[in-house]
């Protein structure tokens, strides 16, 4: 299956990109996405367990993904 992975703010800057399409085996989880992201250049600057959202809702690493999901890796927020 294919999912969209989005990066923001300091993470996008570290990785030098704000999105990528990722192909994964059926039944893959958020944790699997994070594992793949770990291999990207600049990923060493991300924390071990970053905040993640799937389709605009915060999600746990164990959450199973579906075709076309949007997975966002969320840096520490600083709104307001």
């Amino acid at each position: 299956m294919t999912v969209t992975v989005r990066f923001f703010a300091s993470y996008a800057e570290s990785l030098g990109r704000d999105a990528l399409e990722m192909t994964l085996a059926e039944g893959s989880t958020v944790g699997d996405v994070l594992g793949s992201v770990r291999g990207l250049p600049g990923a060493d600057r991300l924390p071990p367990a970053p905040l993640v959202a799937v389709n605009y809702s915060y999600a746990q690493a164990t959450m199973r993904l579906s075709e076309g999901d949007e997975v966002a890796i969320i840096p520490p927020v600083a709104g307001g």
């Binding site: 703010a9 924390p47 605009y56 840096p75 927020v77 600083a78 709104g79 307001g80």
Partner: protein
């Protein structure tokens, strides 16, 4: 009336206040967050706000719904500004209307606190010495 807005436009506090007005609301509580000239002793020239728009709007709408259930609020509005903001510019304004002030003030505090913790919005601070830094990003380990 519950309303969430994330935009580059300057925040208009007066119109935000009237947007939560009603014949039965005797109390309107408002919070305005503005860019400060210093942060941790460093002189700030401007702050660049960015947001994961779709999620931030959803998260803030959920926060208003929670405030509605918890404090009996039916009229609340949040306007979060993004883009490059100068010192004293308003980055966020929240207005809550209610017949009585206690609920309006309690709901206001809840909405502002929750928004700051949950809305996927980020601050890139620019300093007078030319440096720039993501606020909170330093604390890599903490979420």
């Amino acid at each position: 009336m519950m309303d969430v807005c994330i935009s580059q436009e300057a925040i208009d506090v007066a119109s935000l206040v009237s947007s939560v007005a009603s014949d039965s609301n005797g109390a309107t509580a408002v919070f305005v967050g503005t860019v400060r000239a210093t942060n941790d002793g460093r002189a700030v020239t401007e702050i660049e706000y960015s947001a994961y728009g779709e999620m931030a709007e959803r998260e803030m709408a959920m926060i208003l719904t929670e405030a509605g259930a918890r404090f009996g609020i039916t009229d609340a509005a949040i306007h979060h500004r993004i883009g490059r903001l100068a010192v004293r510019d308003a980055s966020i304004a929240v207005a809550v209307g209610h017949p009585h002030r206690a609920a309006a003030l309690d709901a206001l505090r809840y909405i502002v606190d929750e928004t700051k913790q949950r809305a996927p919005i980020w601050k890139l601070e620019h300093y007078t010495d030319g440096a720039r830094e993501w606020v909170n990003a330093g604390a890599k380990a903490s979420r």
